[in-house]
Point group: C2
Chain length 159, copies 2
């Protein structure tokens, strides 16, 4: 299984918007989630570090929510970027999304030590508002599902 994202949308975010704890390439303390296309689906891989414990042996739900969240905004960005005619790696600056809502259903305990894979399907619900349906697998086991509504970053996020 290919588990590396060669052309991640997060590589293309402008420096000012690349500090996200989940997926910002410039946040040295963060998780550096990387989100790319796999055909018409989006994918992010992550192996949570040991401190992200819920009950010993199982991954912290907040870490799963974070992965789904960043996978969602990254997927929105990928999708609008593609609609605009671009792919990550092209050098064009993609639109930056923020999360309007995040829903996570925890179907079963997510074992620590497994490679997690978030898979997304993206749907446009408004030119500046996209929805992503996410499935979260630990190895091959579906452990959680989620929905993220992302919106193009509003001016209120500019300092």
């Amino acid at each position: 299984m290919k588990t590396e994202i060669l052309n991640a949308i997060q590589d293309e975010y402008p420096d000012d918007f690349a500090w996200c704890y989940g997926c910002g390439r410039l946040n040295t303390e963060g998780n550096h989630f990387r989100t790319g296309w796999n055909g018409d689906e989006t994918v992010t891989f992550n192996q949570p570090s040991e401190e992200y414990t819920a009950i010993p042996g199982f991954v912290y739900g907040g870490a799963i929510a974070s992965l789904i969240d960043c996978h969602g905004t990254g997927s929105c960005s990928l999708a609008l970027h593609r609609k605009n005619g671009f792919e990550p790696g092209s050098g064009e600056v993609p639109p930056r999304f923020v999360t309007a809502s995040l829903n996570v259903n925890y179907l079963k305990p997510t074992p620590q030590g497994a490679l997690l894979k978030a898979v997304g399907r993206v749907e446009e619900i408004h030119p500046k508002k996209w929805k992503v349906f996410v499935e979260l697998f630990a190895d091959e086991t579906l452990c959680a599902t989620g929905e993220v509504v992302g919106v193009v970053m509003p001016a209120s996020f500019m300092k």
Copy 2:
């Protein structure tokens, strides 16, 4: 404003279940969220550290989701413990909940540097399944709302 929780439900979790990255008192890398009663509402305070950035100046949405998540399961535990006749500090072991679902609506950007306060109202929907409605304030500003459904920890969480 009182911003310390004297008797947190997390103080009462058995050692084996006190390793949660969000709220486990034994997780040295974690956030140590503390959830207590304030009358009939539940409350958790937290000031996220600087690395929990979304866009510079604003708190990472995953950190907000984590706070709401742990506040939710802690609130469920408080509520069922009270139903059973106990308050945190009594020395009785409370029931440990895990998250079945987590919904977060991000209403406005949450500024970094502010003290965050999660306030919860708890509702029993089944003897082993409780719902918590959460409001997340930065200082006095409502920045996010959430709903957490918690269930008494099933046997599948025992290694």
